[in-house]
């Protein structure tokens, strides 16, 4: 392997530091309801906060707690998980499985020091474009109030020395 040397872009870091903090939120959503709900928000041209990055899964049943841990580890200020309303799951029961899993996992997260204010769960159907937009705005506002995720939180990755 050849070693190519590129200069680190020192300016990037400085710029980032200069910018005011804005929440970074990772959303894990199901393909059939919430992703489609977000699409509807788009086709309806509803404006909402730009802080959320969606990761699409087929179903909330697919969402492993490891995903949530990883997002916090990488420095997300909050995590949103959203899927189909009970009874509406495209796969009949994935959301029920997910609901139970979160019911336990969120307790563990809170107990180990991740503020419940940084963990969001919702049901957004494919018809709820407005709910999606409102949700993103509410979540963003609440995270803004909670402030940045503490870099010394044990869940969070710190630079190696």
């Amino acid at each position: 392997m050849t070693q190519t040397s590129t200069k680190p872009d020192a300016a990037t870091g400085a710029d980032a530091a200069a910018q005011p903090w804005s929440p970074r939120i990772v959303a894990f959503v199901c393909n059939w309801c919430t992703y489609a709900g977000a699409d509807l928000a788009g086709t309806s041209r509803l404006q909402y906060a730009p802080n959320v990055r969606i990761i699409k899964l087929p179903c909330t049943g697919r969402i492993d707690p490891l995903f949530i841990l990883k997002a916090f580890e990488q420095g997300a200020d909050a995590v949103l998980v959203s899927g189909c309303h009970p009874g509406d799951c495209h796969y009949t029961a994935g959301n029920y499985h997910a609901r139970r899993r979160w019911g336990l996992f969120r307790r563990l997260m809170e107990f180990t020091g991740i503020d419940a204010k940084r963990l969001f769960f919702s049901w957004v159907s494919a018809a709820e474009g407005q709910k999606f937009a409102d949700l993103i705005n509410a979540v963003t506002d609440e995270v803004r109030q909670a402030g940045p995720f503490d870099p010394t939180n044990p869940a969070r990755k710190r630079p190696w020395t």
Partner: protein, 658 residues
């Protein structure tokens, strides 16, 4: 090394207005693994697609990310283009820059920054994507229809008419189901048997239909396209090959006092019997429980009188395994047992009967040859009270749901009664009249307005027998607000519609889910009302919910259409988004098996070359897996993954957002 191509679409002004597409393309060019990054006005246009195809060939791309509209819109378009250029379509991903970005944000720098993030996420994912090939499952083009009532007959005929083989299994000795027992049908009052029996005969004679009456499904293995079903053929004691259906046997049978199931116990049958004269097949069976020869070892009269020697007292139950590609369940319904309503004298008062019994009384082929005679003494009933919602809409003692067809058949009963007993009094107690349906409300109006049925809105509190043998029906007229008392010769209870006994057992065999009452659950209440959550198993008729004849027939035809669609290709092609088990690390805790909504995961035994069991692991049946990934998240050791959404792919996406 990954060689990813990035294509940013302006979507005219739709994306370009708020997202600086050129800047996004430029930023993406610097992502690790990206070898080409361009932006273009309309990526979905022919020139746009050509641009992607050319790049795939020229740049030897190993992955493509199109930043454009929602993948729900154009993912098939772009994946087809990739395929045409020789790239596995699952190596192309879309980033949703329009619905999720340009249309919902106004600030250009902010939207551009988000678009870059969205692109990075998909670039990181596509680098981990694997080539996937559509899953092909061979399909055995034979259908099994369970239940030989009108729904089962219709489904079988439609599938057979479509040129595919059908095995039609019926539990009783004859086709026909409940419909064969009906006198006339609402709202047209055509004779039930007149319209049904031709279809029964057609089903029996159809070259594509194999009839298995007096048979039950006892085991179901396999999956869509490839079911193996065990059917138990009960011993008939009559060789159907030799029997000509002459009837000499049952005319001479000395065991004559057996209550007829077909006549709802209002008439009798013999031990060797055919359920009704138009039965299909029109060949008798011996009821082993009541046959003197089979219970006591002496008699043998039927064998003596049989001109063809068809009687076989040593006949045995047989199990047959059939291979089928699809299953239509049409097991129908039963009437709720109204003995829970003690105040209606159930079981004690002979002249309090249910709807089926009235049908048999009203039927020209019934025990009274169509005269409305009360069971206790055979007198013509001069006054009949009909009570709707007996058990229905009664969460406490019956069932909470509406049985749907009772309003209509009660109106029919009242009309039929008035036709037969012109001077008779027909009184109907009802809670509500629900007559939605073509010609239905008109039919009820006719019963009330021109046929002289007296409709009383209210419940009956008690039925008792007077000294003179007539019944007293005490109830309330809630519209008039006073108690009423009607003297009747007969009371007909419109019992609730409930699933067949044993419905849940069959459902468990089939892997079909069912509600708390035992009605089978459809895959989606709106959009997949005929399918079940178990791929390849379809529903027809009242086994799903109370239904009348036209609805049952319509659903049966719909199920047949689904089956024919499935059978239209020799192989079933499915999206390869399925779960896969790592058999090396699986410890067989069975959490995935229990969690799978489709029963698509099963045990697999791993054996050495000598056939000794080494270990048992979970195994996903690709034919049944729908790709939800619920199993992946319950697997603690990380031994299952979902193609198309693998752990590696998802982790790459999360890491891209660092």
């Amino acid at each position: 090394m990954a060689r990813v191509g990035v294509f940013i679409c302006h979507c005219g002004e739709n994306i370009g207005r708020t997202v600086d597409c050129a800047a996004v393309a430029k930023a993406a060019e610097a992502f690790p693994g990206v070898v080409k990054s361009v932006d273009y006005k309309y990526m979905c246009s022919d020139p746009g697609q050509q641009m992607i195809k050319d790049a795939i060939r020229d740049e030897r791309l190993t992955g493509v990310v199109v930043g454009a509209c929602s993948p729900r819109m154009h993912e098939p378009t772009f994946r087809r283009a990739a395929f045409e250029a020789g790239l596995n379509p699952y190596l192309l991903e879309m980033a949703n820059l329009r619905e999720h970005c340009s249309w919902v944000h106004e600030d250009r720098p902010v939207a551009t920054e988000k678009a870059i993030d969205l692109m990075r996420v998909m670039v990181e994912k596509v680098k981990k994507n694997a080539e996937l090939r559509p899953i092909r499952v061979p399909v055995e083009p034979t259908a099994l229809v369970i239940g030989g009532g009108i729904a089962g007959i219709q489904a079988a005929l439609d599938i057979a008419g479509g040129g595919k083989k059908v095995i039609l299994v019926e539990r009783s000795p004859s086709l026909g189901g409940h419909m064969a027992r009906l006198s006339e049908t609402f709202p047209t009052l055509d004779c039930s048997q007149c319209i049904l029996t031709p279809r029964m005969v057609e089903a029996a004679n159809h070259p594509n239909i194999t009839l298995m009456t007096y048979s039950e499904v006892t085991k179901v293995d396999g999956f869509i396209g490839n079911f193996e079903v065990t059917v138990r053929q009960k011993a008939r004691y009559v060789d159907p090959e030799k029997c000509t259906g002459c009837g000499a046997c049952f005319e001479k049978c000395p065991a004559k006092k057996i209550p007829s199931e077909f006549d709802a116990a209002l008439g009798n049958r013999t031990a060797i019997y055919r359920p009704f004269p138009q039965a299909v097949p029109n060949k008798p069976v011996i009821d082993a429980e009541h046959c003197i020869m089979l219970t006591k070892g002496k008699c043998g009269i039927c064998a003596k009188v049989c001109p063809t020697g068809a009687i076989k007292y040593d006949d045995k139950d047989r199990e047959v395994i059939v291979k089928v590609g699809a299953i239509v369940v049409a097991t129908g319904f039963e009437l709720w047992d109204h003995s829970a309503y003690g105040e209606y004298g159930a079981g004690r008062l002979e002249d309090v009967i249910n709807g089926f019994q009235f049908e048999r009384l009203a039927s020209a082929s019934g025990p009274t040859t169509g005269e409305i005679r009360r069971p206790s003494d055979g007198r013509i009933a001069e006054s009949v009270v009909f009570i709707q919602c007996c058990g229905s809409r009664d969460p406490k003692r019956g069932v909470p749901y509406c049985s749907k067809i009772c309003c209509m058949y009660t109106a029919k009963h009242a009309i039929l009664y008035r036709h037969k007993v012109h001077h008779g009094r027909a009184v109907v107690f009802y809670m509500d009249v629900r007559a939605g349906g073509k010609g239905y409300d008109e039919f009820v109006r006719r019963a009330i307005e021109t046929e002289g049925a007296e409709y009383i809105r209210g419940r009956v509190s008690r039925i008792y027998r007077r000294k003179d043998g007539r019944l007293v029906v005490k109830g309330a007229d809630t519209l008039a607000g006073r108690p009423v008392e009607i003297v009747a010769d007969m009371v007909v209870l419109a019992d609730a519609i409930v699933p067949q006994p044993g419905a849940s057992r069959l459902a468990q065999m089939l892997g079909v889910s069912y509600d708390e009452y035992g009605f089978y659950s459809e895959a989606h209440p709106k959009l997949r009302p005929v399918e079940t959550a178990k791929a390849g198993v379809f529903l027809a008729g009242a086994c799903q919910a109370p239904k009348d004849i036209p609805e049952s027939v319509a659903q049966a035809s719909a199920a047949a259409a689904k089956v024919l669609g499935l059978f239209s290709q020799p192989e079933l092609e499915r999206e390869p988004i399925v779960a896969k088990v790592n058999e090396v690390t699986c410890v067989h805790c069975r959490a995935c098996i229990q969690a799978c909504p489709y029963g698509a995961i099963e045990d697999k035994e791993i054996k050495d070359s000598k056939g000794n069991l080494i270990r048992t692991v979970a195994c996903v049946n690709e034919g049944e897996c729908q790709g939800c990934g619920t199993c992946v998240a319950v697997c603690r050791s990380g031994s299952i993954d979902l193609d198309g959404f693998t752990d590696e792919e998802v982790l790459a996406e999360i890491a891209a957002l660092e």
